[in-house]
């Protein structure tokens, strides 16, 4: 096998990324190295085959299908964030009002109902619910780990459930989503079970800032969503109760 410098020059030549000095150096090396010449010829052959492969045309309905989903998503998430700061402020205000309302209800309950004095499982998330116009609800749950911050959004309408996990900054992380004990994966919105037994988890390697999963109702029932996020040595886990079993 030719040395790494020769290989580098051969690739640069094939990819039209070589400057004149590199091309000259490549020709000198090839002149005295028949193995390198054969490698160059073979890689050119592969390159030419790949370049001659015709592009695959997308389905004629692809753009229309995408836009139908985009418009549906736009209808279920009417808050378009042009200013993140303003949106955070709006959420804080809603969360504060919701929290005060909950606190008042809990205070009354605490006084009147001894069973409510039991500690709340800290793993179960408290969400901030909004009810935008239309037949759907959006609930947001904060993600607050040692180094992980962001939010989980569950949007529910009559025929679609959307789970969005977004982060305040990009980092390499793994997000694991589980519905009860039988976790689901999504392939463009179809919820399908994983594994032969119909159970398992779906793990996403998220190097960007967010992931989104959508499920059409009617495939599986679940009463809770488990989310675990691993970022470096930090782990954040939460369980989102759906209140009552929900068809996914």
């Amino acid at each position: 096998m030719p040395d790494s410098r020769t290989i580098d020059l051969i690739q640069h030549g094939i990819d039209d990324a070589a400057d004149p000095a590199e091309l000259s150096e490549l020709e000198q090396r090839l002149a005295s190295d028949p193995v390198a010449r054969q490698l160059r010829d073979d890689l050119h052959f592969v390159n030419d085959l790949l370049e001659e492969t015709p592009d695959e045309e997308p389905p004629s309905t692809l753009a229309a299908d995408v836009m139908a989903q985009v418009r549906r998503a736009a209808a279920t998430a009417p808050v378009v964030i042009a200013d993140r700061r303003a949106e955070r402020e709006r959420k804080r205000t809603i969360a504060l009002r919701f929290g005060l309302g909950i606190a008042a209800a809990l205070a009354i309950g605490f006084i009147l109902m001894p069973s409510m004095r039991e500690p709340i499982d800290p793993r179960h998330a408290a969400g901030t619910m909004t009810s935008p116009p239309g037949d759907f609800t959006v609930t947001e749950f904060p993600i607050r780990g040692a180094s992980i911050s962001g939010s989980i959004r569950v949007s529910e309408s009559a025929d679609l459930v959307s789970l969005g996990v977004s982060f305040d900054s990009p980092a390499e992380r793994e997000v694991r989503v589980e519905f009860d004990a039988a976790a689901l994966s999504t392939q463009a919105g179809r919820a399908v079970p994983i594994g032969d037994e119909g159970s398992g988890v779906r793990t996403f390697d998220v190097t960007g800032e967010s992931i989104e999963m959508q499920f059409e109702r009617g495939v599986k029932r679940a009463s809770a969503i488990g989310v675990r996020i691993r970022q470096g040595g930090d782990v954040f886990e939460t369980t989102i109760d759906l209140g009552q079993p929900t068809n996914f």
């Binding site: 690739q11 990819d15 890689l43 015709p54 836009m67 418009r71 463009a188 959508q214």
Partner: protein, 188 residues
């Protein structure tokens, strides 16, 4: 409504963020072909590619507010496409190469039988690549990204891009050689 330049990409994005969901169509029309083509080469199945492609565009729309407008949109959407394709491949037990008897609508009727056989072997070789190698190969040869653009899309050092690209090409070369194809040598 169609976007044809980076500045018009930015205009579409701005209008989307201002609440005009229909403005996203400009981005879809501009990128549907290269994104679909890239995903198709990754997942090796047309129907699966269509589903993954739809999910990619929808994900891009839903997360548009997270997009760094200092970067190029194509680099971002290709990253989503590659990640989703790799995730899709990970959820499958095996990947079948593009069918030997599949006739791409893009192929002309005059394509010879030998060329068809050669393309079959090429598809088999691509299907045997690891997802990481395939991603680099697809971005280089089917979306014509430079080393730098591939590195940015996959968030890899350029050196790693070149290394994986070489390994992928070597693998294709060895596969084709094993079935009798080399430059200047007909299929035996």
């Amino acid at each position: 409504m169609n976007c044809t330049t980076d500045s018009e990409d930015d205009d579409c994005i701005r209008r989307c963020l201002d609440g005009d969901a229909d403005a996203f169509e400009g981005l879809v029309l501009r990128y549907q072909k290269p994104v679909f083509n890239a995903i198709y080469r990754m997942v090796q199945n047309r129907e699966d590619a269509a589903e993954v492609c739809q999910a990619v565009f929808l994900k891009a729309y839903v997360n548009l507010r997270a997009f760094d407008r200092g970067r190029r949109f194509f680099s971002w959407i290709y990253r989503i496409a590659m990640n989703d394709s790799i995730n899709f491949l990970a959820s499958r037990r095996s990947v079948e190469p593009i069918a030997a008897n599949y006739e791409s609508p893009a192929a002309g009727p005059e394509e010879h039988l030998e060329a068809s056989e050669l393309r079959k072997h090429l598809n088999e070789a691509i299907a045997q690549l690891s997802p990481d190698q395939r991603a680099v190969l697809v971005l280089r040869h089917f979306t014509h990204c430079s080393y730098q653009e591939i590195a940015s899309t996959l968030q890899l050092p350029e050196k790693t891009v070149k290394s994986r690209l070489f390994d992928a090409r070597q693998s294709l070369r060895e596969h084709l050689s094993a079935v009798g194809y080399r430059r200047g040598v007909s299929h035996a």
